[in-house]
C-alpha cells in the first residue's frame, strides 16, 4: 500500500507527467536469493504471512516439499520444489526456489494496467499494487511474465508481494530476509547484491562442482529487483519453471504501443474526415424534398 515516504517514478494508466520522476536519487533496492543455500524450511513463507497479516489458507500436500501449487492472492511467497537429476553424474538435487514478485525494472504488470495509480514503481524500484485504485480487470495478470499477480475473487482486486514496502520505507529489511535461518537471503542496494551474487557464483564455479553457476537478473525485463544465484544458470527452468529469457509478451507491447497510436490516429482522423466530408458534400438530399416528394407522384 501507499507509502508517503517513497516517491513514485512510474504510474500505471496515467495521463501526463509522473510527479516523482527524477526528483530523488534513491538506491535501487534488491533482494538476493541464493538457491544453493536454501534448505526449503519455509520460514520466509511464514514471516510473509505474519508481517503482511494475510489470512491463513489451506495448503495442498502433493508428496513434495512444496506448500501449494502456486502463489495466491493471500500467499505471496512460495518455495518451489523440484527433484532434479544432474546430467553430469546422475546425482539427485533438491532444488528450492523462493518464488515471489520479481520487482522488474520494466514491469509488464504496470505497462498493461489501465487504472490510474493502481500500480506504481517507487524510485527505489519496488513495484507496488494500490488496491484502492485497482478496477479488477486482470490486465496485469496478462502483462506479467512471471505469473505473479493474483485476483481476490471476493473483492476483485489483485495482490502480490510488496517487497515489504512499509518496512523498507522505514529502513528495515523485508520480513522474509529477517526470518531466513541459513542466510541465503540478502537485501541491499542492487549494486551491492549483484556484487555479492557474482562472488558467490564464482565461488560455486571455482570451489564447488558447479561450472555453470551464475546470477539470474534477466535483461528482458530491464533486470529485476529480486535476483537469484543458481547452481546452473544455463537452465533456470529446472528451478520451478523460472523463465530463461522473460519478456513482457510482445502482444502486450504491440497493444500498448503501435496499436494504441494507430487506433487513436484513426479515430481522430475518422471524425475529422467525416466532418470535412459533410462540409464539402453535405447531405445527399434535403429533408424538404423527402417530405414533399417531387421525384414524380407515386
Amino acid at each position: 500500500m501507499s507509502q508517503a515516504i517513497l516517491r513514485v517514478q512510474k504510474i500505471s494508466g496515467h495521463a501526463g507527467s509522473v510527479p516523482g520522476e527524477g526528483t530523488q536519487r534513491e538506491y535501487t533496492v534488491c533482494k538476493l536469493i541464493d538457491t544453493t543455500t536454501c534448505i526449503g524450511c519455509k520460514a520466509c513463507e511464514v514471516a510473509c504471512m505474519e508481517w503482511n497479516d494475510l489470512p491463513f489458507g489451506e495448503t495442498v500436500f502433493d508428496n513434495t516439499y512444496q506448500t501449494m501449487p502456486e502463489t495466491r492472492w493471500n500467499y505471496w511467497n512460495l518455495i518451489l520444489f523440484n527433484e532434479h537429476v544432474r546430467e553430469e553424474d546422475g546425482s539427485l538435487m533438491w532444488l528450492m526456489r523462493k518464488n515471489q514478485c520479481m520487482h522488474c525494472a520494466e514491469p509488464g504488470c504496470l505497462a498493461a494496467c489501465p487504472a490510474d495509480g493502481a500500480i506504481v514503481q517507487y524510485t527505489n524500484g519496488i513495484v507496488d499494487f494500490q488496491q484502492a485504485n485497482c478496477i479488477g480487470c486482470g490486465y496485469c495478470i496478462t502483462g506479467c511474465p512471471f505469473d505473479i499477480p493474483k485476483m481476490n475473487p471476493k473483492t476483485h482486486r489483485v495482490f502480490k508481494c510488496t517487497l515489504c514496502t512499509d518496512r523498507v520505507s522505514e529502513g528495515l529489511e523485508p520480513a522474509c530476509i529477517k526470518s531466513c535461518p541459513t542466510g541465503c537471503l540478502h537485501f541491499g542496494s542492487k549494486d551491492d547484491m549483484l556484487d555479492l551474487a557474482g562472488k558467490r557464483a564464482k565461488q560455486l564455479r571455482e570451489h564447488s562442482n558447479f561450472p555453470h553457476a551464475g546470477v539470474y537478473d534477466p535483461p528482458g525485463v530491464g533486470g529485476t529487483g529480486v535476483i537469484y544465484v543458481l547452481h546452473d544458470a544455463t537452465k533456470p527452468e529446472i528451478y520451478g519453471g523460472l523463465p530463461s529469457d522473460p519478456h513482457v509478451p510482445w502482444t502486450v507491447k504491440l497493444w500498448k504501443g503501435p496499436l494504441k497510436w494507430l487506433g487513436n490516429v484513426a479515430m481522430v482522423g475518422g471524425l475529422i474526415g467525416l466532418f470535412v466530408h459533410y462540409l464539402r458534400f453535405g447531405p445527399k438530399a434535403r429533408e424538404e424534398e423527402d417530405i414533399n416528394p417531387s421525384g414524380g407522384k407515386p
Binding site: D147, P153, L274, E287, P298
Partner: protein
Amino acid sequence: MNKSEQILPHGHLLRYALKERLTHWVAAGAYIYLLMTGLAFWSPWLFWVAVIFGGAPVSRMLHPWAGLIFFAAVWYMYVMWAPQMKHTDVDKAWWKAVRYYSTNQDDKMPPAGRYNAGQKFLFWGFFWSAVALLASGVVLWFPEYIPWNLRFLRYISILIHPAAALFTIGLFLIHVYMGVFAERGAFGSVIRGDVSIAFAKRYHPGWYKEIVGESSTPRK
C-alpha cells in the same frame, strides 16, 4: 411482412417493423455503453469517461454483461436479416461505383435493394466483429481462470479485442454519419419505422419496386 402492409398512407413506406427497431436500439444502446467504457480502459486520457458511468470498477463489472446483450441483439439481427444481406451482382456494381455514392451522385449508382452493398458490409463487419469481441471478451472477463500453459489465449485476446473494437468504431462512425447526417430520413426510419416514397426511390429503388410493384398504384 406482407408487402401491402408496408405501404402506408401519405406517401410513406414501412421500412422497419417494431421488432427490427427495438433490436436496433438494444444493440445501439449496449454498443454505446461498451464503446464509452471500453475507451476509458483503452486510454488513460479517457479514463474519466468511466467515472461518468459510475466509476471504473463498476464499468469493468458491467462492460462484459453489456457485451452479452450487444451480442444477443446482433445475433437476432443475423436471424432477421442474414438472407437479405447476401452479396449480389448489383452489389458488385455498387462497389465499383462507390465514389459516386460518396460524392452524393446517387443517380449514377446501380439500383440498390432493401440494403445497398455498403450497408451489407456494415452488417457483416459488425456481425463478425461481435463474434470476435465475444470470444476475446470472455477471455478478458476471466483472465485469472486461464491456466498458465494456455496464456497465449490472454496474449491474443488482448490484441484481438481492441483491434476488433477499433474496426467497429470505424463502421460505427460511418454508420451514424450516413444515418443521421448524409441520408436525411434514414434516422426516422429506425425511430418511427417509415420512410417517404422519395427516400425509397432515391436510395433503395430495388426495394421500392419490390414492395410497390411497377404497375400497381399504392394507396395515397
